[in-house]
C-alpha cells in the first residue's frame, strides 16, 4: 500500500510538474487546473518550483520594452522593387534583342559567305576580293538604315532600296570588271521566281507600307527593293537577257530573298535594340 501510494505520488508529481508553467499562465482546462491545485497542496517541491517559474516569468516580463528609435513606415521609393523589376524587364528585353541581332548578323554573314563562295567565278581572286569588300559595306549600310529607319519613315523606302541593292549587288564600278553579264543577271535577276511563287507565303508582295505591321512593312519594302534593284541605273542596262534562261538562276534568287529577309529582320532587331537601349538610358 505504501509502495503503490509512493509510486502514484511520483507519477502524479511528474504529471503535475509538467503542467506548472501552463498553470501559471492560466492555460489549463478547468479539470487540469483543479488537479494541479490539489497536488500543490500536498507537494512542497512543486510549490517551490511554481514560485521559481513565477519568478522567471516575472523576470522576462520585467525586461524593458524600448520603443524603436525610428518609424518603419514605408515610402514610395522603398516600395519601388516593382519599378526596379520593370527596369530589369526592359534590360532583359534589350539583352535578348541584342543577342537576336548578333545571331541574325552571324547567320546573314554565313549566308552571304556561302553565296559568294558558291557563286561560280571566271577567276577566283577578284571574287574573293569582292566578297571581302562588299560584306562590310552591306552591313554598314544596313546599320545606317536602322538608325535612321524609325525616325524618318518617309525616307525608309529609299534607304531600304539602297540597302537591298547594296546587299545583292556589288558596287557599280566593279560590276563591269568582275562579272560577266550572265553572272550579273544571276545576282540581280528580275523577279520571275518571285512571280512564279517561290517566295515563302509569309512575305507579302508589294503590300502598301502603311497597312502592314512594321516587320511585314520592312519585308514588303525589301521585296519591292529587290524588284526595283535591277531597273536602277547602270546595273539594269548591263543585264543580259540570255541569263534569264539559266537553270541555277532560281536557286540564286531564292538565296537572295533569304538574304534580303535576313537583312531586313536584322535591321528590325537592331532598331528594337537601339530603341530599347535609349529607353533603358532614360529609365536609369
Amino acid at each position: 500500500m505504501a509502495w503503490t501510494g509512493l509510486f502514484f505520488t511520483r507519477w502524479e508529481h511528474a504529471r503535475r510538474r509538467e503542467n506548472l508553467s501552463a498553470y501559471l499562465d492560466n492555460a489549463l482546462r478547468p479539470d487540469e487546473t483543479r488537479r494541479v491545485t490539489a497536488h500543490l497542496d500536498r507537494c512542497p517541491a512543486c510549490r517551490a518550483e511554481l514560485e521559481d517559474l513565477r519568478a522567471v516569468k516575472a523576470a522576462v516580463q520585467a525586461l524593458p520594452r524600448p520603443a524603436p528609435r525610428r518609424s518603419f513606415t514605408l515610402t514610395a521609393p522603398a516600395v519601388a522593387p516593382r519599378q526596379r523589376s520593370a527596369a530589369q524587364l526592359l534590360e532583359r528585353r534589350y539583352v535578348s534583342a541584342r543577342a537576336a541581332s548578333c545571331v541574325l548578323a552571324v547567320i546573314l554573314l554565313l549566308v552571304l559567305g556561302f553565296d559568294f563562295v558558291t557563286t561560280p567565278r571566271p577567276s577566283p581572286e577578284p571574287a574573293v576580293s569582292t566578297a571581302t569588300r562588299s560584306l562590310p559595306e552591306a552591313t554598314s549600310s544596313l546599320q545606317g538604315t536602322t538608325t535612321e529607319g524609325r525616325a524618318a519613315p518617309a525616307a525608309v523606302p529609299d534607304d531600304r532600296a539602297r540597302a537591298a541593292g547594296e546587299v545583292s549587288t556589288p558596287p557599280a564600278p566593279a560590276v563591269g570588271a568582275i562579272f560577266t553579264p550572265t553572272e550579273l543577271s544571276r545576282i540581280v535577276t528580275p523577279s520571275p521566281a518571285i512571280a512564279a511563287g517561290e517566295v515563302p507565303p509569309t512575305v507579302p508582295h508589294r503590300a502598301p507600307p502603311t497597312a502592314a505591321t512594321p516587320l511585314r512593312d520592312l519585308q514588303a519594302e525589301a521585296t519591292s527593293a529587290l524588284h526595283a534593284a535591277p531597273l536602277s541605273g547602270a546595273v539594269a542596262t548591263s543585264v543580259s537577257p540570255d541569263g534569264l534562261a539559266a537553270e541555277p538562276l532560281n536557286d540564286r534568287t531564292g538565296l537572295r530573298v533569304v538574304e534580303a529577309m535576313l537583312a531586313v529582320t536584322l535591321a528590325g532587331t537592331l532598331t528594337v535594340t537601339i530603341l530599347l537601349r535609349r529607353h533603358l538610358a532614360q529609365a536609369r
Binding site: 509538467e18 503542467n19 506548472l20 508553467s21 501552463a22 499562465d25 492555460a27 517541491a45 517551490a48 514560485e51 521559481d52 517559474l53 519568478a55 522567471v56 516569468k57 516575472a58 523576470a59 522576462v60 516580463q61 520585467a62 525586461l63 524593458p64 520594452r65 524600448p66 520603443a67 524603436p68 528609435r69 525610428r70 518609424s71 518603419f72 513606415t73 514605408l74 514610395a76 522603398a78 516600395v79 522593387p81
Partner: protein, 206 residues
C-alpha cells in the same frame, strides 16, 4: 475591439489595392510589437531594426496574398520567418557578436528617480543577464517565451501564430522556463531580492 478589428480589415483591403498610406497606418499600429519581437529574438538593436523594416516591406509586397484570417498572426509569422532567416544567416557567418551587451547597443533607459546610481547599475546588469539567458535558449523555446511573456499572447494565439499544436506550445514554454531558471541560477550574485529565493530553495532541495 470589434471596431478596431473592422478598421484593421478595411486598412488591409485598401493596402491590397496599393494604398501605401493605409498600409503605413498598419505599420504604425504594429511596429512597436514587431520591433520588440525582433529585438528579443535577435538581441541587437540594429538587427532588430533591419528585420522589422524587412518584415513590413515583405508584408506590403505580399499583402495581396493575405486572405481572411486575422492580420496580426499573419504579420507576426512574417516577422518570425524574417528573424529565423537572420539567425540562420548569422550561423553561416558567425562574424557578428552574439553578445547583446555591448554598451552602444543598449537601449536608452530612464533611471528610476527613487534609486541611486548603484541600484540602476545593478538593474542594468540584471537586465543584461536575463536578456542573455533568453538569447541562449533554443530558438523555438525563445520564440514561445517571447510571444507569451513579452507579447502577452495566450497559448491559443501562439499556436495559431506559429501554426503548431497547443500541446507543443505548452511543452516549449515549460522547457523554456526550466532552462531560464537554470541559467539565471548560474548568475545568482546578480539576482535581486525577488529572484534571490531561487538560490535558497535550490539549496533546500539538495
Amino acid at each position: 475591439m470589434a471596431d478596431q478589428h473592422f478598421d484593421e480589415l478595411s486598412l488591409v483591403k485598401r493596402s491590397q489595392q496599393g494604398d501605401l498610406a493605409a498600409f503605413n497606418l498598419l505599420v504604425e499600429a504594429y511596429q512597436r510589437q514587431i520591433y520588440l519581437l525582433c529585438l528579443r529574438m535577435l538581441g541587437s538593436v540594429e538587427a532588430a531594426e533591419d528585420v522589422t523594416q524587412d518584415t513590413f516591406l515583405t508584408a506590403y509586397q505580399h499583402i495581396a496574398r493575405f486572405r481572411g484570417e486575422a492580420f496580426r498572426p499573419w504579420l507576426f509569422r512574417i516577422a518570425v520567418n524574417a528573424c529565423t532567416d537572420e539567425l540562420r544567416r548569422r550561423k553561416r557567418r558567425p562574424v557578428l557578436s552574439l553578445d547583446p551587451s555591448s554598451p552602444d547597443e543598449e537601449p536608452f533607459q530612464i533611471p528610476d528617480p527613487g534609486e541611486g546610481p548603484e541600484a540602476h547599475t545593478l538593474r542594468g546588469e540584471l537586465r543584461r543577464t536575463i536578456e542573455q539567458a533568453l538569447l541562449r535558449l533554443p530558438e523555438d523555446q525563445r520564440l514561445a517565451i517571447v510571444l507569451c511573456d513579452v507579447q502577452g499572447l495566450s497559448y491559443e494565439q501562439i499556436a495559431a501564430t506559429l501554426k503548431i499544436a497547443l500541446g507543443t506550445v505548452k511543452s516549449r514554454i515549460n522547457r523554456a522556463r526550466a532552462r531560464l531558471r537554470e541559467l539565471l541560477l548560474q548568475e545568482r550574485e546578480l539576482l535581486p531580492e525577488h529572484l534571490r529565493h531561487l538560490k535558497v530553495r535550490e539549496g533546500e532541495e539538495r
